[in-house]
């Protein structure tokens, strides 16, 4: 009797619901968060910030602070002078872009409330904070420009020396670049004999609100200056520290230890990092700065903040012929590291999954005296997706068709991939029909439509609305040549190293720096399959430039599709490199070996050797072929050939209480096509979190300033972050069109939920109350705005700029 040994599956790990190996330490906090780091002799810093939006600094009196208990030093911008370097914009979107100088610490003038004017270094954080209160700054107030549209008129200037608030004008024109017809022609045709829909949508200002506040430690002792920072971008930070402070890059080590969330909010080089750097160097002792939540809300960069003027042209039947976009984007007081590039990323996304004849995108990023604005989960793409998905619903109403039917009339059919869009992007793969069919079925679309009809007819005080978002996004930033053509300051490759340890364990180094995404788990799964080693034997190292010397960090849904591909290439190189040694040990020809499930075998025999044994033999180096190095480690730098384009169909049912305007989510279904999935559990987490963040834009979050430029929503009392108590059970599923731009067939998922959900929710809310003559409600769709819309008053009025004083501190007898 012969027993047939079943071969282990070729890819046992990929596709497995692995629980995240990093979670125990992340959740319990028994790990190296930056603020947990304590070094001998370390000083603590506190920042003094301007309360004014725009002012001249007349004088700064530091005497009282300097004499305060256990104070080491107090520095103003004049003290730090050129040692502090500058905070740069790495993506000037045009060569003529007007970019205000951004000193980490202001010297003569402040341009937003929250800007740093002095730093105090003390023995303890409490003493630093106490002394910071004693720094006396005399300001001369200057006129501040706060409103985006007013800023675009240049009547009051955020930076008078620039002569304008408009930093640049950037255009994508389908006729100009040869990817379509002239937009004005198409609009004229539609005006004559078709449909023209003109709308203006507002993307309110949001605050990324990551869980771990920003924190930085700088140790200037030793040969290399070391910076620990709660950042998404240790490699870019190292490069820019060298470029702007004159310290040779080889003398700088940047470490992003475990980082508690970012959402783009930590895709920045910050004044706080640069000031801590300069202060530690000047004093010669390690220094730590950890922001308070209030500081985080006013000074860490914000997101979104656009006005979108849109003109959609279509035939009478509902076939879209073109779209013209005029975008005003509020950059706040400074142009951040990506800055004006964020709204520009929307240029390739307004056309979404649709086929049009003509398209024009015009973008003007504008400076105001508010907190700076930069990348926030989705960065440019949620804004674009919102606009087009809202417009498709409006078009459906105009034509009198079901909004899903209108979309189907206009979308790219699955057999048309790869498809080059009117914006000039080539989409790799997709199947909008399949995702939509699945979502419709899961949602019970027809039954909900019937219920909606019944509620309308009976005049129910609770009305039901159904919102749709058939989104796509470009992710996996990005092919370096494309970035070069856009004037972006870096490439888009990623680096990986695979090190085979003598005991058979594997160390993998990635340049993608995780801040909560689960890289350690997903990357281990990929490498375990590729090398045929146990999942537990793979260790992922990242975030320390001394270990991971090369990388471009984590943002733009790039870690898996770019970083993961680099891993695959490096692992394959290890397999190839070790092959001659395996052949040597097996006394066979290398050509006769095949590698599978972690083992080199001689074809047609039962002879073989495991890769762990080869690793040990390499370490011993007692017996290896002539002409070969005793080393099988390998590295790879992967530059993507294209973006990847995940897509999905999101369906939302919302109930609107017409008496109060309260919106309650009833059902949310999404079917995302993100190509092949490495770890479904991690994907679910990304989708769930992304959905909540996008829904929060639709319903809850808004950064509001008062007339003097003070952030009114400056704490979580007034900046409404949702919790689990505010969400519903999401029903998520997938269809799979493997990406053709990487060997794993994966697409990004980090931003998908956020991009898709905002328009799905607002479409549902508007759909619920459309019978009252409503066709738009400003975000967030607060109960008051919805109620006002239903009752015929203005649904677009600004939020009242005042906060309740729950913590009024004035009266001694209060606050029990």
């Amino acid at each position: 009797m012969t027993t047939i040994e079943e071969a282990p599956p070729a890819a046992p790990e990929i596709g497995k619901d692995r629980r995240r190996k990093e979670d125990q330490r992340l959740i319990t906090g028994r790990t190296r968060w930056t603020d947990n780091i304590a070094l001998p002799g370390m000083l603590h810093l506190a920042m003094v910030r301007s309360p004014h939006a725009h002012a001249k600094i007349l004088s700064i009196d530091i005497e009282a602070a300097d004499k305060s208990l256990n104070i080491y030093e107090v520095f103003t911008g004049k003290h730090l002078a050129e040692t502090q370097g500058v905070v740069v914009n790495a993506w000037p979107i045009t060569t003529e872009q007007k970019t205000p100088d951004h000193l980490p610490m202001a010297i003569d003038e402040v341009h937003f409330a929250g800007e740093i004017v002095a730093v105090v270094a003390a023995r303890t954080a409490a003493e630093a904070r106490d002394a910071a209160e004693l720094v006396d700054v005399e300001y001369e107030l200057l006129p501040a420009v706060l409103d985006l549209k007013e800023a675009a008129e240049d009547k009051v200037l955020a930076h008078p020396s620039l002569g304008t608030n408009k930093t640049a004008f950037w255009q994508l024109d389908s006729a100009g670049q040869g990817t379509g017809r002239a937009i004005d022609e198409v609009i004229e045709e539609a005006r004559a004999d078709g449909i023209v829909i003109e709308r203006e949508y507002r993307q309110q200002r949001l605050i990324p609100a990551f869980m771990e506040p920003r924190s930085v430690v700088v140790d200037p002792t030793g040969e290399q200056i070391t910076m620990w920072s709660a950042t998404q971008i240790p490699h870019i930070t190292r490069f820019l520290l060298a470029a702007t402070t004159g310290v040779p890059e080889s003398k700088i080590r940047v470490i992003a230890p475990d980082v508690g969330g970012g959402f783009g909010g930590k895709l920045q080089t910050t004044p706080e990092e640069w000031i801590t750097w300069a202060t530690a160097r000047k004093i010669g002792k390690p220094c730590k700065y950890t922001e308070t939540r209030s500081e985080s809300l006013i000074s860490a960069h914000h997101g979104r903040d656009q006005w979108q003027k849109l003109t959609l042209a279509a035939t009478k039947e509902g076939k879209v012929t073109g779209l013209k976009v005029d975008l005003l984007a509020d950059l706040g007081a400074y142009v951040g590291v990506v800055g004006g590039g964020v709204p520009v990323l929307g240029a390739w996304m307004f056309n979404a999954i649709y086929k049009w004849d003509a398209y024009q995108f015009n973008c003007t990023p504008v400076l105001t005296n508010k907190t700076w604005v930069d990348a926030y989960r989705g960065a440019g793409r949620p804004e674009a997706t919102y606009a087009i998905e809202r417009l498709m619903d409006e078009l459906a109403v105009e034509v009198g068709k079901d909004p899903l039917e209108i979309r189907e009339m206009n979308w790219i059919k699955h057999e048309e991939f790869p498809f080059t869009t009117v914006a000039g992007m080539t989409y790799d793969s997709g199947n909008y029909e399949a995702a939509t069919a699945k979502a419709k079925e899961m949602f019970g679309y027809d039954a909900l439509r019937a219920e909606q009809k019944q509620r309308r007819e009976s005049g129910d005080k609770v009305q039901l609305g159904i919102g749709i978002s058939t989104f796509t996004e470009m992710c996996g930033l990005a092919p370096s040549r494309v970035l070069g053509s856009l004037n972006y300051g870096a490439g888009g490759w990623e680096h990986a190293t695979v090190r085979m340890l003598p005991t058979g364990k594997v160390e993998v180094i990635t340049g993608a720096s995780a801040h909560g995404q689960g890289h350690e788990t997903a990357f281990s799964q990929i490498v375990a399959d590729r090398l045929g080693v146990p999942f537990e034997d793979v260790e992922i190292l990242h975030g320390d430039t001394q270990v991971s010397h090369k990388g471009l960090d984590t943002y733009g849904s790039r870690s898996l599709v770019v970083g993961g591909e680099a891993l695959v290439l490096a692992a394959d190189k290890v397999i190839e490199k070790a092959k001659p040694l395996a052949a040597h040990l097996l006394e066979a020809n290398a050509e006769d070996l095949e590698f599978s499930a972690g083992r080199y075998s001689v074809k047609g025999t039962d002879q073989g050797i495991g890769i762990a044994e080869v690793a040990l033999a390499t370490f011993a180096a007692h017996n290896y072929p002539e002409g070969m190095e005793p080393g099988i480690d390998a590295e790879s730098t992967y530059d993507p050939v294209n973006f990847s384009f995940p897509h999905g169909t999101h369906l939302c049912a919302a109930e609107v209480d017409t008496e109060t305007g309260q919106v309650k989510l009833r059902k949310y279904v999404c079917v995302d096509d993100i190509g092949n999935i490495i770890n479904p559990l991690i994907v679910s987490g990304q989708v769930h979190g992304g959905l909540v963040q996008g829904i929060a834009q639709a319903l809850w979050e808004e950064a509001v300033y008062d007339d003097s430029g003070t952030l009114v929503s400056g704490s979580f009392v007034d900046y409404l972050l949702p919790t689990a108590a505010d969400t519903i059970n999401f029903e998520i599923d997938h269809t799979t069109s493997p990406s053709t731009t990487n060997t794993l067939g994966t697409k990004g998922v980090g931003e998908a939920g956020t991009i898709a959900s905002t328009p799905a929710v607002v479409n549902a809310v508007v759909d619920a109350v459309r019978q009252f003559g409503v066709n738009d409600i400003l975000m967030p769709c607060t109960p008051e705005r919805v109620w006002s819309a239903i009752h015929g008053s203005d649904p677009g009025k600004d939020t009242v700029e005042g906060a309740m004083p729950h913590f009024d501190g004035g009266n001694q007898e209060d606050n029990q």
């Binding site: 704490s715 919790t723 505010d726 008051e784 700029e801 005042g802 309740m804 004035g810 007898e813 029990q816």
Partner: protein, 284 residues
């Protein structure tokens, strides 16, 4: 966040607490759980030189039956209030409102008396206490005095408690057998109410015989909607039956305008929530 430096004293009796208060007076703040004082300290909105923590005074904790009233010790946590059998039986409205205070963490630390003494008009307990005609027992150097609910709330964050006094307990007249509902309107679950309505109702065979209605965040203090209460007597215990009475809910109120809603919207909400709260309290 790091508060400014302060000295701390934790007396174990009301007498000691009053003594500490007499000594430090203007320079002191009373800590009675910390739901609001701790954020104030951490955000440096106030920097008292002394914090007098009442948390070690066991005599201020607990709930007891006192004949025609129940008595809630000022330092009883929201969690203990909402799970107390006496409260459930005789002051159901208090239980309903306490259940809605902030989140579970706050309910385990924040206290009944602390919240009332803080007198945030958006606090959840003022309107129910007012509606139930609570009496506030206040200790001072000259002994204790009792202040009725109508006189207790003076203004925004201001009560009848003097600078050298401490709220020790709150007497709630028994409303045994009365139905109750606290309708709290929020945008996210952990928020202060934009508006809330506290209603408790004595209903008999589908008809309301007596009703008490308190309003949260409709002015600088919790308010009692007496016009509604009067109009409810004899009303049918249903949303339609109480509609007309509830429409008076915003009469004479002066609600704030802020990020979460304009005064006009709040006035509207008050009428809708009153209708719903009363109907729910009446079981209609």
């Amino acid at each position: 966040m790091i508060p400014a430096r302060f000295d701390y004293v934790a007396p174990t009796s009301v007498e000691e607490a009053l003594q500490a208060l007499a000594e430090h007076g203007d320079e002191a703040k009373i800590l009675a759980g910390g739901q609001s004082l701790l954020p104030v300290l951490r955000m440096r909105l106030n920097a008292p030189e002394w914090v007098i923590d009442l948390g070690k005074i066991d005599a201020l904790r607990g709930i007891r039956d006192d004949g025609d009233a129940i008595v809630i010790g000022a330092l009883t946590t929201h969690h203990d209030v909402m799970h107390d059998a006496l409260v459930e039986e005789h002051a159901l409205l208090i239980k309903k409102a306490a259940t809605e205070v902030a989140d579970a963490q706050v309910r385990h630390r924040g206290t009944f008396g602390g919240a009332l003494a803080h007198a945030d008009p958006a606090g959840d307990l003022g309107a129910p206490a007012l509606a139930l005609g609570a009496e506030f027992v206040i200790a001072g150097s000259g002994g204790t005095r009792t202040v009725g609910a109508d006189d207790f709330f003076v203004d925004l964050f201001e009560t009848a408690i003097g600078e050298d006094e401490i709220l020790t307990e709150v007497r709630i007249p028994k409303h045994t057998g009365w139905g109750a509902h606290y309708a709290k309107f929020v945008r996210v679950a952990h928020q202060w109410p934009i508006v809330a309505v506290a209603a408790t109702v004595k209903a008999d065979g589908g008809t309301i015989s007596e009703a008490r209605v308190g309003l949260t965040n409709m002015g600088s203090t919790p308010l009692r909607a007496r016009g509604v209460e009067e109009a409810l007597a004899g009303a049918t215990a249903s949303e339609d039956g109480v509609r007309e009475a509830a429409a008076k809910a915003a009469d004479g109120t002066n609600p704030p305008s802020d990020l979460n809603g304009s005064a006009e919207y709040r006035r509207h909400l008050a009428t809708v929530l009153t209708r719903r709260a009363v109907a729910a309290a009446a079981g209609g």
